[in-house]
Amino acid sequence: MSTEPDPPLFSAPPMPEQERMVEAMLFAAPAPLSVAELARRMPHGCDPAEALMHLRSRYAGRGVTLVRVGDGWAMRTAPDLGWLMQSERVETRKLSRAAIETLAIIAYHQPVTRAEIEEIRGVAVSRGTVDLLLELEWVRLGRRRMTPGRPVTFVVTEAFLDHFGLESARDLPGLAELRAAGLLDSRPPPGQGQAVDDDEDATPHGQSELFED
């Protein structure tokens, strides 16, 4: 690297230059990059968060836009222009109804155990359904539930958010209405009072943490 005359040695580059850097990195990156990842690659003292804000307004309304995906940022074409990209369209595997429902249940009820998915669907989760969602990297393992048996939980991933154009799991369509209607409560069948207590112990890790802040 050559030393420039005007900026003092070791100071951060000016903001327009930082903006260019962030622009180039996001442009080249195949997956969303977090502020931390951007900062790690940029010279010491840079403020990628501020550069992102400038960049976001610069790209507002353009054919390519800056989107937030979970903790990361990515450049994506504007959804209204999708019809121009017919030839880039990737064939997606047709998901079974069971897989789609299981995915929705994980997204809206996360972190959710297999038993809870089965309770909601009223049927056993078939072999390979969770497997497929893991393989698509739309779903990953969350923390174990602190209930007897310490069951594994499932949560959705950043790739899920990216795929469905969601900034965060809080932006799932209809989430507030479903919550208000009590349809996301874990409500065990009557006569299983003990299970209620256990479940209530476990919820603080769950939805509240994920969806409220």
């Binding site: 990515a74 450049m75 999708g82 929705a104 909601i120 669907r121 009223g122 154009g165 369509p173 479903l178």
Partner: protein, 260 residues
């Protein structure tokens, strides 16, 4: 077929009921079936008559029985539960009876149906969103600038889990070994030879040392010959036997090495 099916508890169209039964494989479990049946009530799921629904379901199961259609066990479990629920809803409450009331059970079933429907709607809304690679797109061309290349080892969680699963189901921690049906182990051949060698002091064809049951089928015979031969080589090396072959491919003979 199905002309005698005139009694349709809760179903307006007999053919609809027929279709339901024929289609039973298409249902994702009893809750899904209940949800479908509940649509015939044409009311909000919150105002559904669970008693009526229970009767519809029991009617469905009864008709499946008369049509000799086998229902999976979970459908029958649900039928038993709904029959119980129905009795609770119809009979005056018995104060001595323990457990939840019919109303509580009915309310929970209504909740389950509403929740399942809500998740189906949510799934449909999710899938209807603009999607990456369908409606909006990521960068199409990978960047190729610069020189440094880093090797990244790719392994997903699934690979990890499958690797572990593979290990753990592999013969429960014992070192992996092929299933040996038609293989005579060299160790076994050796053990056998050592045991019977004393009885055969003179030259004897190798073939005669094959154990019982290993002379018939070609595969077993080949394996036994090979193992027995390898065992004789080992014994020859140790100085216990002598080997002799008259010509190429001629039968191999062995005898116990005479004591000096």
């Amino acid at each position: 077929m199905g002309t005698d099916a005139t009694q349709e508890p809760g179903l307006d169209d007999p053919r609809a009921a027929e279709a339901l039964i024929v289609d039973v494989d298409g249902f994702e479990g009893p809750l899904d079936l209940l949800l479908t049946l509940s649509r015939t009530q044409k009311v909000d799921l919150r105002r559904i008559s669970v008693l009526h629904l229970a009767e519809q379901y029991l009617g469905f199961v009864e008709r499946a029985r008369t049509l000799r259609i086998e229902l999976a066990a979970d459908y029958l479990v649900m039928a038993a539960w709904l029959a119980f629920l129905k009795s609770r809803l119809l009979l005056p409450p018995d104060p001595a009876e323990e457990g939840p009331s019919g109303e509580e059970m009915a309310a929970h079933l209504a909740f389950q149906l509403e929740r399942l429907q809500a998740m189906r709607d949510a799934a449909a809304r999710l899938m209807a969103r603009d999607r990456l690679g369908q409606d909006f797109f990521a960068r199409g061309a990978p960047e190729t600038v610069g020189e440094t290349r880093r090797i990244r080892y790719d392994a997903g969680l699934l690979d990890l889990l499958q690797a572990y699963a593979r290990l753990r189901t592999r013969d429960d921690f014992r070192p992996y070994a092929f299933e040996r049906h038609d293989i005579l182990a060299i160790e076994a051949a050796l053990e056998r030879l050592v045991a019977i060698l004393g009885e055969v002091p003179d030259w004897t064809a190798l073939q005669r040392f094959l154990p019982e049951g290993w002379r018939g089928s070609p595969a077993r015979r080949r394996s036994a010959v090979a193992s027995t031969f390898a065992a004789t080589l080992e014994l020859a090396k140790q100085g216990h036997v002598e080997l002799r072959q008259a010509a190429l491919f001629a039968p191999i003979h062995l005898r116990r090495k005479p004591r000096p």
